[in-house]
Symmetry: D4
Subunit: 149 residues, 8 copies
């Protein structure tokens, strides 16, 4: 059983690597959005040409990123969504809603201070974690039945 | 043709009434989440009994609210999601993702300052508006073919 | 918004009436399986003719009952499943799994002594109640936003 | 043709091994839930931290187990559900209902004494067996056309 | 609960009327194919113009009839398929397969002499009857819980 | 049986009225896109504000029109697509493909000179007509079994 | 591109081998039902034990065969259904209807004398052939673009 | 992550090769319709025998081509549709609508002069390009996060 896991959300810390390292040796296939912030913001105009309005600049890019995001979520068995300390991160919540509507197993990862604001997202999840290594432990248990420690 | 419209998101201003008033006389059936903030926050423990941990207090409530939210989105032809000035509003973005995955026609409503942060949500929408009356104008056009003024 | 609610499970106490009475005045449309135990057990052979083997006697009946059960669950927005004190009630758990796979909003109703044995069923639910009147309170809140007195 | 078979239900006897041994040499890919009873019961708190209430202790675990269970059932061509002599086994019936709603080919495995109580589950099955070796014979026939003996 | 019932198959005897009469007073909505044999055979060329080849003559008609047949089956809760004494009736078996794949509740109606030849169709059904009045009795039981006599 | 019919395509002749008149007295519910060419072209900027680029001017409008178009096609039992003498009419062919993928019953209406160019569209249809009155005759036959003349 | 092809229907002549031979060298993966008539008829009782009534004897077998048939059809890109000269072959027409409802590409194979009786089945097909080698030619063209001779 | 890309539309220039060359080294699996114009037009009669009427000549061929087209689109993650300078190309728009209804990521490729006529098709796309190398750049970015030059 290969578990396909999509890692959505915050792109400014190394949480994805922590999970991937923690899952070393397990039969997991990871995917993720483009995590280069500048490339992600500007991919639309870099390929298709400049736009005067910021709205269309962003729109071109967001739609190209959606090709990768949708593929990642639709192919996944498990979607992990990480909310960091900063920014609005509405795309993360959007991905969580998208994954929930498709019936994907959802794992949400966030600090305690976001607990109340994320209650609707957490309520759709099969696990809510505060640390990336917990996600790796879940993947290990799901695939092998082995618990940490 | 009756158009079923679900009004998701911000609950602290009268934007829903503005749309409903603007759509007076049209064949639209509106639905919405519970917009009483306190009731929405506490419905879980008010019905099912107190929880010591805030996480479970919120979890009980969010799941009961989900009964209404899912029904509203799944029955809708059009889902309007409003992002206000304040708060994280991750539930609004979650609803937008949920609606998008189900193939609903999505209209997003927000001020200009949120434009960049909402680019992924906007990119999934069939219209992005800054004022509620624009949503009413869209509903009028969709149902009657008549444009404003 | 009419809420379609299917009342599955235990057929030996008046819990359905309690919920229906508690929801008086609400825009709810209830459905349920045939709750006459003897008719439900014997409907197959009563219509299609006797069978020597108990397995086929039961099989004929269970399949005819499935016409009603499937219709009720597939049409429902909310599926309430009640586990009583006695019997195996595997059909109740089967209905809960069937409803969960279809993405229905699931409410489970059972006493405390069944808590551990029903943990997988409860984990798929949006609410777990111990008393029928709690279900009626949930329906009232979902439809009107009003919490119990 | 590789047949994907999920083995759900009772975890206290060696029925899974009997089927897997009996299907040796066939193009079958088996999956199953975690069958270590203690790990399965406690996985939630072992990873995510202790809960005071038994309900939430169980809820955390059941949801993590659901990641594996749903993956197994949703990927499967055939879902075999075994009901043993003891316990309520509502999770087994829940899995059967879940599989039936997804249109999976269902095989139910139980002793004669449970026949009447399982009539609704059996009625949704393509085969009802009393012994694990019968399941292996069915898999052999389905894949090769060869009948036993 | 209104039950939508599509009556497919044989068009040379009055079995549809028998069922409809037997279900008088029940909340059932019946539909059926065009049962005028000549109109059904010739509708294509009568509307769209003559064809030299019998294959295209029949093809034009069968496709127009499919508009009604598909609508009837797709809207139905229950599909009843009747096999008469004569003719190949492959369209009846086709409708049964179509209904089965859509997860409709299937009732098959045929005489004893067709039992072996219809075993695959019967195996997909929730009831197999020999007489139209049995179908009416099933509909009565499903809707009211009342058994005959 | 009410038949829901969506009338897609060419907006410069009175073919819709011809079909609607021809179907007078039948239980048909018709819907259609906005057929005011100017309103349809400019609805986006009329409501949401001017765009410098023609591409975005058109994009805003096409997405608002898609709210109506998708609702019409998704609700329909039958989608009629008319190709006129002039223009590229790629939106008509797009609607036909959209309807085909959703399994709608498709009727295509066009003159003989477009036959070869429309062969892929026609091949997905249940009827291909040259005159609107033929579509009305098909609807009459499908609903009543009566043939013309 | 591997094309998955399911070969349904008549089991008394070598038409499957003709197609498989004709498709030698192409990237096709074939599957089929069990074609040993006796094994297919008796598999139920051979594995699960004798039944007194012919109906249940056949029912046990047909349901076990359905495990293979459904898997074959649901996995297929193309379903070929062959109607031979003899027997009712209702299972073949049932498979065709099942495949059509799932949106599979259907190829029907039969002699001229069955043309009228199979008109509804043929009308759902993308090709109707009289000889197995024509099916192989279609597969060759679909995969390589090369036409015969 | 292998990206499956279907290249639909215009068959008279080398745009497919340009994209395939531009995507060299990327994990992309391309598919496409038969691009031999004559074979594509005549495949029906070449295999199944001559037809007197052009309509049926074309119909036979279009349905055989649909076997490949549907397989390509349904398996794809991304559908690229190219509109050339000449011809009606309704099959290209039909494919775009088909892909959109299935929720595929759509990329449209056309020159500026077709912009207004393709506005509905473009509005359903995640990217609109004027040159094939832009499509290759999008594929590169989606798979690697690398932007051109």
């Amino acid at each position: 059983m290969t578990l396909k896991v999509y890692l959505s959300g915050e792109i400014h810390t190394g949480w994805r690597e922590e999970i991937i390292d923690g899952a070393a040796g397990l039969d997991v296939s990871f995917s993720a959005p483009v995590t280069d912030h500048d490339a992600s913001d500007d991919c639309g105009v870099a390929i298709l040409g400049a736009e005067d309005k910021k709205f269309w600049h962003d729109n071109l890019g967001a739609k190209i990123n959606a090709i990768r995001t949708r593929k990642g979520i639709e192919d996944a068995d498990v979607v992990v969504v990480r909310f960091g300390e900063k920014y609005k991160q509405w795309n993360a919540a959007f991905d969580a809603g998208y994954a929930a509507a498709l019936g994907k197993s959802l794992i949400v990862l966030h600090g305690d201070d976001h607990q109340h604001a994320l209650k609707e997202v957490d309520a759709a999840a099969l696990a809510v974690c505060q640390e990336p290594r917990k996600v790796a432990q879940i993947l290990q248990y799901v695939l092998t039945g082995n618990l940490p420690g």
